[in-house]
């Protein structure tokens, strides 16, 4: 009797169907990160072995990501319930097209940064856990992209934050402690806001499963509380993504750690915030988001313009890049300002704009990582990253200067590189959505950023070496800087390979964008109409 009723209860509470092996791809990126991170933690004293374990680990991560992307592209969104508990009670991991694209690009840049790091991170910092922290952060990033539970999203945010804290203070320079203090406090307050919003959300809906929330929010009659939720989530994600007026922590901290750490932060961390904003505001609360669109339009426009003017005012290569990140965030935020996609009326603005925004995020992840890595090489070659003292890199190293030029073109959104097509899509969407002034601000900020990048290239690469910083002062400074940056020069294959890989992605995405556009179109459709997402979570349950 007892066993019978127990199995009846189990049938009620647990999923019964067996899982196809390929469906484990949902959880694999996180498993790979934690297994390799823990293994590296256990052999922390054998620093020589770290790269030998870490690089295959990152290759495994990328392979798992690609398997997930393939699974989602061929079979639609895929869900796994932790521990086999039925939704909405169990924690769901759900990967749809958008999550799969983000997680794959994240794996790609992590592999590139990992290869670069084997050349540039000295043994002492490996001993303090560069690679374990890298895997911890990648575990958090991957988890955030594939989770289908909003509290779980908060947990992954914290996991990636702990990893990023560790990477940020590795080395403990004065600058780093200063930047880390600001970064840590601001991000902690941001995630606390996220937690507050999640607490309210649980109070209102009584569930934390995203698919369940999407359905319940649609069926809700009095939507006033949802506006409060949407604003709270927007503020906390803007803080993570560094959108105006909550952006000042980013230029205060991102240039302080090692170049490879900055590269990962600039590529991935702000994009996690953008991803979460798109996921929560556009998929869970679309009507409320559309009502507040004018507010988001101002935030997006001011973020871009602020970033562009900030970039113009910088006299240091790395700090210029900090502001270039912010311009990218402003461009992606444009999607939140577009009018809602109404089924039957075309909804061109939203579908084109969302696809463009996801493509922009992909472009931004790759190009910002590549730019910081390239800045590391440039600082190593020139002995400084200050534009007052750099110069002559074109003459000494034309191939590397050409790579830098491609990346600067891409970040400014000039054809034929990867930054061009998403901007075209976003401008087209804003005009279709009757927001011509927002289209103008995209173009103006792009123009200002072009001027700023051109000046960086002219001063740092094109001009001959300035006389003032030549000879004796340089030699002295080189010794100090070389010790601090220890970025590898491009003559070392280990720093050239990742740079060339990232750069060729930038070129390929600019010249043959169609395959990428197909993927991002599918991702955008999955957000606008979340029915397949919801079906994948609840499956045969309802």
């Amino acid at each position: 009797m007892a066993t019978e009723s127990l199995s009846a209860l189990k049938a009620e509470a647990m999923t019964q169907a067996s899982v196809a092996p390929i469906d484990y791809a949902v959880i694999m990126p996180v498993i790979v990160c934690f297994l390799f991170g823990a293994a590296l933690l256990m052999m922390r004293k054998k620093v020589a072995w770290h790269p030998i374990v870490a690089i295959p680990g990152l290759v495994c991560l990328l392979a798992a990501d690609l398997a997930l992307l393939w699974r989602v592209a061929t079979g639609g969104p895929v869900t796994m319930m932790m521990g086999g508990w039925k939704p909405p009670f169990g924690i769901a991991f759900t990967a749809d097209m958008m999550g799969a694209i983000f997680v794959t690009v994240a794996g790609f840049v992590a592999l590139c940064a990992g290869i670069y790091a084997t050349a540039s991170v000295p043994g002492s910092e490996r001993r303090y856990g560069f690679f374990p922290f890298l895997f911890l952060m990648m575990g958090g990033v991957s988890g955030a992209f594939v989770t289908g539970d909003i509290f779980n999203l908060y947990v992954w945010f914290e996991v990636l934050l702990i990893g990023s804290f560790g990477l940020l203070i590795l080395g403990s320079q004065h600058e780093q402690l200063d930047g880390a203090t600001k970064y840590c406090f601001l991000n902690l307050v941001g995630t606390t806001l996220f937690l507050i919003a999640t607490g309210y959300l649980y109070g209102i809906f009584g569930t934390l499963n995203m698919a369940d929330i999407a359905e319940k929010a649609k069926a809700m009659e009095d939507t006033t509380p949802i506006f409060t939720l949407a604003v709270l989530y927007f503020v906390s994600f803007s803080m993570k993504a560094a959108a105006f007026p909550l952006q000042s922590w980013l230029p205060a901290s991102y240039h302080t750690p090692r170049f490879v750490t900055s590269a990962l932060f600039a590529g991935l961390l702000t994009k996690v915030g953008v991803y979460a904003a798109i996921r929560v505001l556009l998929m869970l609360f679309p009507p409320e988001r559309a009502e507040m669109a004018p507010l988001f339009a101002w935030v997006a426009a001011l973020t871009m313009v602020f970033g562009a003017f900030g970039a113009l005012a910088q006299s240091d290569l790395r700090r210029f890049l900090n502001y270039a990140v912010i311009v990218g965030i402003g461009n992606i935020m444009v999607v939140l300002a577009l009018p809602a996609a109404v089924p039957g009326e075309g909804g061109l603005a939203m579908s084109v704009g969302l696809s463009g925004a996801i493509l922009y995020a992909v472009h931004s992840i790759v190009v910002m990582t590549a730019l910081y890595l390239a800045a590391g090489v440039a600082a190593h070659l020139a002995g400084t990253s200050s534009l007052h003292e750099m110069g002559g890199l074109w003459r000494n190293n034309p191939l590397f200067a050409a790579v830098m030029l491609v990346l600067l073109f891409a970040v400014s959104g000039l054809p034929p590189f990867s930054g061009f097509w998403p901007k075209v899509a976003l401008v087209r969407a804003t005009i279709a959505g009757d927001l011509p002034w927002l289209a103008a601000s995209i173009l103006v900020s792009g123009f200002l950023l072009t001027i700023a990048s051109a000046r960086v290239f002219a001063l740092g690469f094109w001009r001959p070496l300035p006389a003032a910083s030549a000879a004796d002062t340089r030699a002295e400074k080189n010794a100090i800087v070389a010790e601090r940056f220890t970025a590898a020069g491009p003559e070392k294959a280990l720093s050239a390979i990742p740079l060339l890989a990232l750069c060729s992605f930038v070129v390929i995405a600019g010249v043959w964008p169609q395959w990428l556009l197909d993927l991002t179109d599918a991702a955008a459709n999955g957000i606008i109409d979340p029915a397949p997402y919801i079906t994948s979570v609840f499956g045969g349950v309802r």
Partner: protein, 139 residues
């Protein structure tokens, strides 16, 4: 803090607390307790030992570096979830076996190994922080 009474009692107190933490860990499946709270008890035991007798004896007594313990625990916890892949069920689903050992039925399950993993992670992480802070006091 290093009075003779404290130094004399600390090893006994520590061993009792570690024993109790293992009891709490194993009791955790059906009753209050579990890896997290057990790990906290064990970590505070090592912290007390460190306060009484200095950090070096604690490190010697632990044999492994606390971070190594944490890494091993994490691997154990993840692997106990991964085992469900072999059986074609969802990640982290509990798997049970009831082997008989010396005439007694022993309930072995993946949640137990997951809990042991959590226990090791908590012991490792908290003792790392605690020992680092105690070392700082010395200089």
């Amino acid at each position: 803090m290093r009075t003779i009474i404290f130094r004399f009692t600390a090893p006994y107190l520590t061993s009792l607390m570690v024993l109790f933490s293992i009891f709490v860990l194993l009791r955790g499946h059906n009753e209050p307790g579990g890896g997290f709270i057990g790990g906290l008890i064990a970590a505070s035991a090592f912290a007390i030992y460190g306060i009484a007798c200095g950090v070096a004896p604690v490190r010697r007594a632990l044999y492994f570096h606390p971070m190594t313990l944490a890494g091993g625990g994490l691997i154990l916890a993840v692997l106990s979830g991964v085992l469900s892949i072999v059986f074609g069920i969802e990640f982290l689903t509990g798997l049970w076996a009831f082997p008989t050992f010396l005439g007694t039925e022993v309930a072995l399950s993946t949640p137990l190994f997951f809990d042991i993993g959590v226990y090791l992670v908590v012991v490792g992480a908290i003792s790392t922080i605690a020992l680092a802070l105690e070392e700082r006091e010395d200089d």
